[in-house]
Symmetry: C2
């Protein structure tokens, strides 16, 4: 099919060092996603944080929120399309050195992961722990939760079951390389 | 693959008349999506409205937004998975009887539709006009925009190019029946 193709692209010509470990995980992923869009490899974007609105007023520009609060995200942070497939993931950093606390992922998000799996989407967590970044498949995450009555995932489980994402220049975190290995191996 | 399957479902046993035309399009689509989840036919949910936060304060419960504003949605309202495919759409009602004003769809959303099409997602608009509900394929919408220098889509174009979604009982708007005909015809 002859799909329309004239999307404007952000071009980043300035040589920026992405090796800077001071950059936070979200920034690293946003830059990686921008890069993927730039080379038209994938279309993955960050979802807005849901807000509860308690009070509004009106001014010349329209509705203004006078009181609101941040709601728990019931879906995951990043969502989009890769190689024609639905993809969604959550990115989390833990300062904990021995395990990933499950309090990081809300109950609604766990249900969301189950739903995506059941409907054949690609879903995973990206976890930064001990300065290393791992991709943990949604399937393995749910299996862990269902078979372990624990409040955290041991680091050893993440090391053994997860997939290490290596740091690079552009993109800073080439997580789609790992996605290729896991989800598109047979092709 | 043996996917985990124990998601809690909302069960609606009360017989509600969905024929009530007073119900707005969003409500009709939310109920339809709940029904699809209930029978496990699809997993499609509404995205949160993006909010810009100008001022925050802190109380015992955490961060409170003291000033914020509604941002333009740069993606579409509904997103999810159907038959293993990425699906996304926007729902709009117009009181205009002769055309659908293009001001209803923002510039960023048009780019978003192009991106989804290019990456092989299913994307469309659901337009309620003259009390009838039509599905207009993202592809046809973009084709119209690219080939017509107009500020609105004539009703006749929607009638001829779009697909009528019929009202029913459960779900109130069985738009996936139309999606089947358009996107899964060959199977």
């Amino acid at each position: 099919m002859n799909y329309p193709n004239n999307i404007k692209k952000d071009v980043h010509q300035t040589p920026i060092s992405y090796k800077n470990r001071g950059m936070d995980l979200e920034e690293e992923l946003n830059l990686s996603n921008e890069y993927y869009i730039e080379i038209d490899k994938a279309y993955i974007y960050k979802k807005p944080t849901p807000i509860g609105v308690a009070n509004v007023s009106y001014n010349l520009h329209g509705k203004v929120i006078e009181k609101g609060y941040f709601k728990e995200q019931s879906t995951l942070d990043y969502n989009g399309l890769y190689r024609g497939k639905y993809i969604e993931f959550e990115a989390k950093v833990t300062q904990n050195k021995t395990s990933f606390p499950l309090a990081n992922i809300h109950h609604h998000q766990i249900n969301h992961i189950r739903n995506i799996l059941r409907h054949q989407g690609i879903v995973f967590l990206i976890i930064k722990i001990n300065d290393l970044v791992y991709l943990l498949k949604g399937f393995d995450f749910i299996e862990f939760i269902d078979n372990n009555n624990r409040k955290s995932i041991p680091y050893s489980f993440i090391q053994n079951t997860g997939y290490l994402i290596k740091y690079g220049y552009r993109p800073p975190l080439d997580y789609l390389k790992v996605v290729d290995e896991i989800y598109f191996k047979e092709e």
